[in-house]
Amino acid sequence: MLLLAPPLFAFGLVYLASLVALLVSAFWSVDAFTTEIVHIWNVDNFRTLWDESAYRTIALRTIGIAAAVTVTDAVLAFPFAYFMARVAGPRRRALLFVLVLLPLWSSYLVRVYVWRLILNQDGVLNWALGKVGLPDAHIAYTNVAVWIVFSYVWLPFMILPVYGALERIPDSLLEASRDLGARGFLTLRKIVLPLALPGLVAGSIFTFSLTLGDYVTPLLAGGSSSQFIGNVVYSSVGVSNNVPFAAAFATVPLAVMAVYLLIARRLGAFEAM
């Protein structure tokens, strides 16, 4: 207990204190002319967030794309992780591990810029489409591009926990299922999926929260209607010097994540991590 005290204290100071500071400053405001923070309690920031439809749109877009990215990654990761955990031999498994982790060795920014090169008007995608006689795709600088890039960059964070969950399923359960006459699909549905669910939920915490808090990908890959909550927070602080409003908007993803984590705990995600 005594040994735990220093790290706990540091944790409390770094995480909780900054959260408290965030919540408190959300109830202050900024003088329009001098942009100095006015320390008078009010809920104007939250009222603006509620009244202005633009901020609702931005919040819903952020949550919507985060959800889409999570589902996409889950669908892509499951068969891949299943192959890694239960089909591939040790050598091939090691190779696949390296392949999954390889993108993480390069800079996040490089990977986003590479997608710009692939998707843009004169890029690799349209070049390839042209070769096979298909019309150009107009994906660059749209929310579809944002969705694709996010799904790509967060995929490893979904594969690893799902792999962990699948690997832990005892062979005896699958054999028992087969002995009792269940075919492959029924076994998948009744045995594998329920046991893999905590892994999927654990992975979804990563993909969902990472997307929810990001602002670089929407900035670089997004188009004229691609602002995320993070972009508004960033421009409120760095551009308009309006820290209270940024803090108020930052409480939205915080609340969303709190709800998400409560549901995740119910589904047993924390045991799979």
Partner: protein, 382 residues
């Protein structure tokens, strides 16, 4: 509350510290009449490209002032940086007109004495006491360089040379238009409307009453479906034009030069409505710790050769008329290319960025201030 009190104490301490030493440049008691010995350091907030080694190195060598530059990406960021850390962290900022008034009225910068800058007398008359850095006869800084926001287009895709800003609001270029991600873009819409809808009575694109402002924002809302991307960095726009994602848009001469150098078929034009533009000023922080080095810097960057170097390096027009000869010496033809010998008519065709304020001189204080511009821009992008 404690935060405020501490800042005040700190501010008082800094002011006291500045008054005590027998420095040549003192702040707070009138303008200095001579420049003392350099303090050895100079902390700058600058646009990227404004502190290149080719003119910073000789400055450091001759004055002993070591330059520390922090690049800012936008005018708003410059204002925020100047106010961070109590305001004494940076000595100077290369503020554009849309930041300079905010800094003056926010008391973040102090008046300077142009008599201490020998090259000041060679500046084009319009930049000696421009309204964006001179208030009530006091000079809050020394003008540096200026340039227009141009209409950039791909000559292979846009067949006939556009002559009006109407081109960037034209549905014919749907999904191929790009404009800066900057609230001041509302002024570009207002400038176009001042000619296209004369009935609105827009005299100055930065002084808009509620009705005029609403009309400009409505035009930008109509433009939004045509926009491929609102560009934040010059390199973003260069990418868009290089890769065929945009064929027309609002730009700076810098992008045109870079794209031409990369053999992309582009040209730029100042349309018949005129153009918005920037005029930058080196401003001195109200709590500058190194005022002598700051004055030496203002002297240095105003000299014809340094003015010419910066103009060519960045692609803008120097304030110093004597820079023209140096520009042609450094790179033949650049004086005419960057309008350093331009007639006053060219200067007058540009409506320079300035901070929109509520009290816009019509006595009614009914203009939309910059906070409104920022809000409208955020909501427009949505």
């Amino acid at each position: 509350m404690r935060g405020i009190r501490r800042t005040r104490v700190l501010a008082a301490a800094v002011t006291a510290a500045l008054c005590v030493p027998a420095a040549g440049v003192g702040s707070g008691q009138g303008l200095p009449t001579s420049i003392g010995k350099g303090e050895g350091q100079l902390n700058l907030i600058a646009w990227e490209g404004y502190t290149q080694p080719q003119w910073v190195k000789p400055f450091q060598k001759s004055t002993g002032c070591t330059v520390h530059a922090k690049y800012a990406g936008s005018s708003d960021e410059m204002v925020t940086l100047m106010r961070s850390g109590g305001g004494s962290q940076y000595d100077m900022v290369s503020a554009s007109g849309d930041a300079s008034l905010r800094l003056i009225y926010g008391k973040d910068v102090q008046p300077v004495n142009p008599a201490l800058i020998p090259d000041y007398k060679n500046f084009i008359p319009a930049l000696k006491s421009p309204p964006h850095n001179t208030v009530g006869g006091k000079h809050y800084g020394i003008s540096l360089q200026w340039g227009p926001n141009t209409l950039l287009y791909n000559t292979a895709k846009v067949k006939s040379k556009p002559t009006s800003w109407a081109a960037i609001y034209d549905a014919k270029y749907k999904g191929k238009v790009t404009v800066p991600d900057n609230p001041i873009q509302i002024a570009d819409a207002a400038l176009y409307l001042s000619k296209a809808q004369a009935g609105l009575g827009i005299k100055d694109p930065y002084e808009l009453n509620e009705k005029q402002f609403a009309a400009a924002v409505a035009l930008l809302k109509k433009q939004k479906p045509l926009i491929k991307k609102y560009w934040a960095l010059a390199s973003d726009e260069i990418d868009l034009f290089k890769n065929g994602d945009a064929v027309i848009g609002a730009s700076w001469p810098y992008q045109t030069n870079t794209l031409k150098a990369a053999k992309v078929p582009v040209a730029d034009v100042i349309p018949k409505e005129g153009a918005t533009g920037w005029a930058d000023t080196w401003m001195l922080s109200a709590k500058a710790k190194h005022p002598n080095c700051a004055y030496k810097w203002m002297q240095w960057v105003s000299t014809p050769k340094v003015q010419a170097q910066q103009a060519i390096s960045f692609g803008e027009t120097p304030a110093n008329l004597k820079a023209c000869a140096w520009m042609d010496k450094l790179a033949k033809g650049t004086c005419a290319q960057y309008h350093a010998n331009a007639p006053t008519a060219y200067f007058n065709s540009i409506r320079f960025w300035k901070t929109p304020v509520a009290d816009c001189g019509n006595g009614k204080k009914d203009c939309m201030d910059y906070t409104k511009w920022q809000q409208a821009w955020t909501q427009l992008k949505g």
